[in-house]
């Protein structure tokens, strides 16, 4: 391999067809004279532009169609000619420099074209250069050279991560892997499970309980997850009324008054609330508005007057405090309005508990969050709530549903295959990687392979085959035709 060209942080390396180099591989350009090494990643492999190649191919294509014959080449020169025809140009991105065995993230140094040696470096030896300590490892899978790839739980702690890729590439699988990885280290995880995919986390593939079964708590709103009205603070119920049920300002003021009066009387059943609205001496339209929201609350089945059947959010988190655990909020078969009611309740209470230091921090995994997370929550979660200890991990197959500023703030992106240019364009807005890398590598990722970008891999994008999990698979598409 020979260094051919450098433009900005892009390198072009001329490679022979015998060199075993593929997209995503890392190469070291070593200039022995100055004891410096440049770390580059191959983002595309092209044919080298060799003069006369077109004539050669035209001649060969003529031959294929209507002419056949033999070559008498006793010296075997043809193999050398074929070698030139197959010469490749590796398009690489400079990721850093090693100077005196220390890694520096800069690309200002230019190695010698004539004297530099270029060699392939395994991902593991590269990561050995990068990572100082390996505590709390979470094994993601294996790299191209079949060595295990670990990130650490620290890489998810206090971070914003995005898992994205097209349908059926293994996003949810990776998300489950991260959830269990965090639970292993006694972390508290909340999962917004849109399709009931995470409800099998506590079961092995064969169906029996697994090591996580007592730490996975599946909560189905309206079934085993109901709340008692009295447990709810005014701020939480107001968020539900305003954001989930769209209560207008005037009606909100009236509702606030009713709520305060009920609290003073110590009456907090649904019936009490209904009665209070009925008796309220307010404008008829306001009363109608309050009634319609009241019935939405009643019909959601999420609220109960029976204190014993109600779920205490605080107690739920108590369960996870000692050994960690995941609260899986099963939103399958929950209508969109009810989903928002549940979400407003959970997020409102989470913030409250975090604020009061009743829980240390929570890792939130949200699948297709655009379907239930209101606009204003995005930035709130990403910026403000992070400081309270709520660390978001968004999982989506529609990258354009996540705002550009979220991508810019993402610490790590777990990128699965995307074919659509527009999707890749969206993801490429992430601040931690150049768009060429995203576009070039992600388009050719096979299923269950992802490109890790960002802090988790110290800004050295790495392709990884996500490892299998021994858990019950749920959430698969139901098919009409059996295979």
């Amino acid at each position: 391999m020979r260094l051919y060209k450098k433009e900005g942080n892009s390198l072009q390396i001329l490679s022979s067809p015998d060199d075993d180099v593929e997209k995503g591989d890392y190469l070291i350009v070593e200039d022995a004279m100055v004891n410096r090494k440049l770390i580059t990643q191959v983002i595309d492999v092209q044919f080298a532009s060799v003069p006369g190649l077109l004539e050669e191919l035209l001649r060969d294509s003529t031959a294929e169609e209507r002419i056949c014959g033999e070559n008498f080449d006793p010296l075997g020169v043809s193999s050398h000619i074929n070698h030139i025809q197959d010469a490749r140009m590796l398009l690489c991105k400079i990721r850093g420099t090693i100077l005196n065995d220390k890694l520096h993230i800069n690309s200002s140094w230019l190695p010698s074209r004539s004297k530099s040696g270029i060699t392939k470096i395994s991902i593991n030896s590269l990561l050995a250069h990068l990572k100082d300590k390996e505590d709390l490892p979470i094994n993601i899978g294996e790299t191209k050279d079949a060595s295990p790839l670990n990130i650490t739980a620290h890489d998810l702690d206090g971070r914003l991560n995005i898992i994205t890729g097209k349908k059926g590439t293994g996003k949810s699988h990776l998300s489950k892997l991260l959830v269990l990885g965090l639970v292993d280290y006694k972390a508290t995880v909340v999962v917004f499970d849109l399709n009931g995919e995470y409800t099998g986390l506590g079961f092995s593939a064969k169906g029996g309980e697994n090591e996580y079964s007592d730490r996975i708590h599946v909560l189905t709103p309206g079934a085993n997850f109901k709340v008692f009205l009295a447990q709810m603070g005014l701020s939480v119920i107001l968020k539900i009324m305003i954001h989930a049920l769209g209560l207008p300002g005037t009606s909100t003021r009236e509702f606030k008054r009713i709520w305060k009066s009920l609290r003073q009387q110590g009456k907090f059943t649904l019936d009490d609330l209904g009665e209070a609205i009925r008796k309220c001496s307010c404008n008829l339209l306001v009363r109608d508005a309050l009634f319609s929201r009241y019935y939405s609350l009643v019909n959601s089945g999420f609220f109960t007057d029976n204190e014993e059947s109600a779920t205490s959010f605080e107690k739920l988190f108590e369960k996870t405090k000692k050994d960690g655990g995941a609260l899986v909020i099963n939103l399958k078969d929950v209508s969109s309005v009810d989903r928002q009611i549940v979400l407003e309740y959970i997020l409102g209470n989470l913030v409250k508990l975090l604020n009061q230091w009743k829980i240390k921090s929570v890792f939130l995994f949200a699948e297709e969050a655009h379907l239930y997370l209101r606009e204003t929550y995005w930035e709130d979660i990403v910026t403000r709530m992070r400081h309270f200890g709520l660390f978001a991990n968004f999982v989506t197959n529609q990258p354009d549903t996540i705002k550009e500023n979220i991508y810019r703030q993402a610490d790590s992106i777990f990128l699965f295959n995307f074919t659509n240019e527009r999707d890749l364009e969206t993801v490429s807005k992430a601040a931690r990687v150049d768009s060429e890398t995203v576009k070039s590598i992600a388009q050719e990722l096979p299923p269950h392979h992802c490109l890790l970008i960002g802090r988790a891999v110290k800004d050295f994008p790495v392709m990884v085959k996500v490892r299998a999990l021994d858990i019950k698979t749920l959430g698969q598409t139901r098919l009409f035709f059996e295979r």
Binding site: P51, G52, L53, E56, R59, C68, L75, H80, I84
Partner: protein, 275 residues
């Protein structure tokens, strides 16, 4: 059946010249073209070995082996190319029967690499085996009444053969072994000088051209078989790089680019050949 040979300069060494030659034979069989390519054969020609190489080629071709005066290094590349071509032509003449043999070039004999006796022998062998040689020249220096020979058939309706009768059969040592025609065989802007063996009856020569028209594809009056022979023998830039790689690997030569003196002296005005 057509034969063509190409030679190319690969580079220079401190002591001589690196060149390569390749020959191609193309023939038509059951509506398909077939080819046999020989080479590439790289040569390192120095003042010390040029005579030996030249002699080797001549001995394979010319029966009467006189002690040849080897040409200068700069001319030897073309010479050994010509000798390989003659050797292939001889091989074809000897091995085919009742065939139309197409040569690239003319039937002019009496020059260093085309001795009259040998050229006559090539044609004679072909004649004896009821084959006929047609030699197509893309370029000719011959002029008739001040006009370039190939321009004479410009307005003629193809297919046509215009025989040029007034050329002297010999001029000094140079001898024309063929009847010279201007051939415009298909529509288009091109016409070629065509030499047909002088010792073949004229009617048979014309019949051979008619047969060629019926059996081969002709584009711009040029036979496809001969065109393919040219294409298969010619070196492309990739092949030159491949041969350079072969030489450097096989013989441990290091390739360096010689400074372009014209560019050094004249900068952007230094156009033209390197050196």
């Amino acid at each position: 059946m057509a034969v063509d040979v190409s030679s190319i300069r690969i580079g220079e060494t401190e002591t001589g010249l690196l060149c390569a030659i390749r020959g191609a034979i193309v023939w038509r069989e059951k509506n398909r073209y077939k080819y046999q390519r020989l080479g590439p054969f790289p040569f390192h020609i120095t003042e010390q070995n040029k005579k030996e190489i030249y002699k080797l080629f001549r001995n394979h071709h010319f029966e009467i082996s006189e002690d040849p005066r080897a040409p200068s290094i700069t001319n030897i590349q073309a010479r050994i190319g010509n000798l390989l071509e003659r050797w292939l032509q001889l091989g074809i003449s000897c091995s085919t029967y009742g065939t139309i043999i197409l040569w690239d070039g003319s039937m002019t004999a009496g020059m260093v690499d085309s001795p009259v006796d040998e050229m006559s022998r090539l044609l004679e062998i072909a004649r004896n085996r009821l084959s006929i040689v047609l030699a197509f020249s893309k370029n000719t220096t011959l002029r008739f009444s001040g006009h370039k020979l190939t321009d004479l058939a410009e307005k003629a309706e193809p297919p046509c053969l215009l025989q040029i009768n007034n050329f002297p059969f010999s001029s000094g040592p140079v001898l024309l072994l063929g009847d010279v025609y201007v051939a415009k065989l298909t529509r288009g802007v091109c016409s070629f000088r065509l030499d047909i063996d002088r010792k073949v009856p004229q009617e048979r020569g014309i019949e051979a051209v008619q047969s060629l028209l019926g059996s081969d594809l002709l584009v711009q009056s040029y036979p496809e078989t001969l065109r393919l022979a040219h294409i298969f023998s010619t070196f492309t830039a990739t092949e030159v790089i491949g041969i350079q790689r072969f030489i450097s690997q096989q013989y441990g030569l290091k390739i360096i680019t010689r400074p372009n003196v014209r560019r050094l002296l004249f900068g952007p005005f230094g156009k033209g050949a390197e050196g």
